[in-house]
């Protein structure tokens, strides 16, 4: 009976109900977006770091991977030490640099990663194969477009450019054997990968026995933090970073977005709450006489409150899924904006939909909306009956 009354009341004021649903849906959408933003980057970055299964990263002491141009010397002996560890399954060295490709009219420069193809974790093969011989190279689409070549072509590449003398330290003819997608680079960033020995040779003596970074894969079940601490103590020239630490670093650098998410999410919740409170207050003020009559004919106070709360519940439950759809759409739009950050890996999402967090947030909004109706409905159901009836008659 009270459910009938609740629904009938909502239908009776269609415009008001529709606007209220829209208002709550917008609140829900914003809240959902902020929940997605607050954890999206972190989870997205975690997924990125672990996508190839490497749990540790070794970089020059005091730096983060590829944060600077510094390199680690004595790479071969360092790798030997790491590979000898019982928990280490693979160690992938990476040397960063640049390769220059003369084309008609201009020279195209691309980031170059010197890798060991068998254990590399920097790219995924889209077509072709891994570099096998020393003069083989793989490239991403941005590079291939820029240099005007395709899979299978042979290109002339140079490294170690000296701006004073305008010469290169090493030049080679390389064959493009693979089309790849670099995991940690932006989609439009030109990049190639080739055997590390080739890149070292092209760079000249400055790169001999040096790497920029080593990624380490541990056996399943290994204690990552303990291995990190032991390697860190064992290798004074490097900083060993685990995925957890890398995430902390990301958290710190991008804490602005997380805090913004918390603030805007809280504001959305408060606004949704206020909207429902106002709606319920106005709605019951209009029906003060009706409520007094219901009390006069013997309907208990809590039942009247229940009926009014049913109304606000119905509003919230209709608005929540609407807000979910709206939130996902706006999240996509906002994610598209942030995805244009220069140098952002293609696979990083700022807004990540995590069902549990999303449902929790929406549930919170629904509950707060319901609670918002408690005070005004209780207040109206507690007014003195006779006085209210008389005032309603006069008014």
């Amino acid at each position: 009976m009270l459910a009938t009354l609740a629904i009938a009341s909502l239908i009776r004021h269609r415009t008001r109900t529709v606007l209220a649903i829209l208002g709550v849906a917008v609140s829900a959408a914003m809240l959902l977006d902020m929940v997605m933003l607050s954890s999206g980057m972190r989870e997205s970055f975690r997924g990125l770091l672990l996508s190839q299964g490497f749990q540790l990263r070794l970089s020059p002491r005091g730096t983060l991977p590829f944060d600077t141009e510094a390199t680690i010397r004595g790479a071969d002996s360092l790798l030997a030490v790491v590979r000898a560890r019982p928990d280490v399954v693979a160690a992938s060295p990476v040397l960063g640099g640049q390769l220059h490709f003369p084309t008609q009219g201009a020279t195209v420069t691309a980031s170059a990663l010197g890798i060991e193809p068998a254990v590399q974790g920097d790219y995924e093969l889209v077509a072709g194969r891994q570099p096998g011989a020393a003069d083989e190279i793989v490239a991403n689409d941005a590079t291939l477009r820029a240099i005007g070549h395709v899979l299978g072509d042979t290109v002339h590449a140079a490294a170690g450019y000296d701006p004073q003398l305008r010469t290169y330290s090493g030049e080679r003819t390389l064959r493009i054997v693979g089309r790849v997608r670099f995991i940690y680079l932006a989609l439009d960033q030109r990049a190639v990968a080739l055997p590390i020995a080739t890149l070292r040779a092209m760079n000249g003596p400055t790169s001999a026995d040096r790497i920029s970074l080593a990624m380490v894969k541990l056996r399943p079940g290994a204690d990552v933090e303990r291995e990190r601490a032991e390697l860190h103590a064992l290798l004074p020239r490097v900083t060993v970073t685990s995925t957890a630490q890398a995430l902390e670093q990301v958290d710190q650098r991008l804490s602005y977005f997380r805090q913004l998410a918390v603030i805007l999410g809280s504001v959305s919740l408060v606004v949704g709450f206020l909207l429902v409170t106002t709606l319920v207050t106005v709605s019951v003020n209009e029906r003060i006489g009706e409520i007094a009559v219901m009390r006069a004919i013997g309907v208990h106070r809590w039942r009247i409150v229940g009926q009014i709360l049913l109304e606000s519940s119905a509003l919230m439950l209709i608005a929540a899924p609407l807000g979910l759809g709206l939130g996902l759409a706006t999240a996509r739009w906002l994610d598209g904006i942030l995805a244009s950050f220069p140098g952002l890996p293609e696979r990083i999402d700022f807004f990540l939909f995590q069902p549990r967090a999303a449902w929790t947030a929406l549930g919170l909004l629904v509950v707060s909306g319901i609670l918002a109706g408690i005070y005004p409905s209780w207040r109206s159901a507690s007014l003195p009956i006779a006085v209210t009836l008389r005032q309603d008659a006069v008014g």
């Binding site: 009976m1 009938t4 219901m294 004919i297 013997g298 039942r303």
Partner: protein
């Protein structure tokens, strides 16, 4: 005869800022079962205040009220609500039907509150609507009913839980003369069928139809007259036939 209403030294004062305004100044009377009582008096004499106290929707400043043997002047909110639901039927001048519900649903409301199943309350509501002559208007909303029809629905609602006492505050106040006459006939019929009725009214015809008239002025009873049955006129118009007449 059993006393349904017993009022002793009833006082009700209102605070208007610093002033205390007495609406009732010590009223004492008794209403017996199946009586039909009209309370009349000029505006501001306290008759509606008295009705509100009988209906347990207000509390006296002092004095006692017993309804059907139970003292009701100091009941807590929950108990008072329960009492109103089961022992008292209230009819208001302005009908106060819930606009969002149909006629039948309005009548069902107190039945639902009393815990009756949906099938039973639907049957009872339709019976009551038939009784007041609105059997074919059960699905209409209040906005689709005339004033008289709305008041009949209100009466049907008031009778839903078979109350010991039916109270009516100016039941013909918003009705035209013809509809008012129908209402008077309905109240007479209710009383004939065994309902104890107390009405507050300015309507002379309605007061004349009552068996007993209590006159009030300035918060006190100045006269209490039992009417001669020969003076009463009955004009049943547009009502459903009594069950034995079908």
């Amino acid at each position: 005869m059993t006393a349904i209403v017993e009022v002793r030294d009833l006082v009700r004062e209102y605070r208007m800022g610093e002033e205390r305004v007495p609406a009732l100044r010590g009223v004492t009377f008794t209403v017996h079962q199946t009586e039909y009582v009209a309370i009349v008096g000029p505006s501001g004499c306290g008759k509606s205040t008295l009705l509100n106290l009988l209906g347990v929707i207000d509390r006296p400043t002092s004095g006692t009220v017993h309804i059907a043997g139970e003292r009701v002047d100091q009941l807590g909110d929950a108990r008072a609500t329960e009492f109103r639901l089961r022992r008292i039927g209230f009819v208001f001048q302005r009908f106060y039907l819930l606009q969002a519900l149909s006629a039948r649903e309005n009548v069902e409301l107190p039945l639902a509150e009393a815990g009756m199943s949906s099938g039973e309350r639907r049957t009872r509501a339709l019976e009551l609507l038939e009784y007041v002559g609105l059997g074919r208007r059960e699905r209409h909303r209040p906005s689709q009913l005339s004033g008289g029809e709305q008041q009949r629905v209100a009466i049907a609602r008031a009778l839903a839980n078979r109350p010991a006492l039916l109270l009516a505050d100016e039941p013909t106040g918003e009705l035209d003369a013809r509809t008012g006459a129908e209402m008077i006939a309905l109240f007479e019929r209710l009383n004939r069928d065994g309902t104890t009725v107390v009405v507050v009214t300015h309507d002379e015809e309605l007061a004349r139809a009552a068996k007993r008239v209590i006159h009030m002025r300035d918060g006190t009873i100045i006269d209490d007259v039992r009417a001669d049955p020969a003076d009463r006129r009955v004009e049943p118009v547009g009502l459903a036939p009594e069950p034995h007449e079908r």
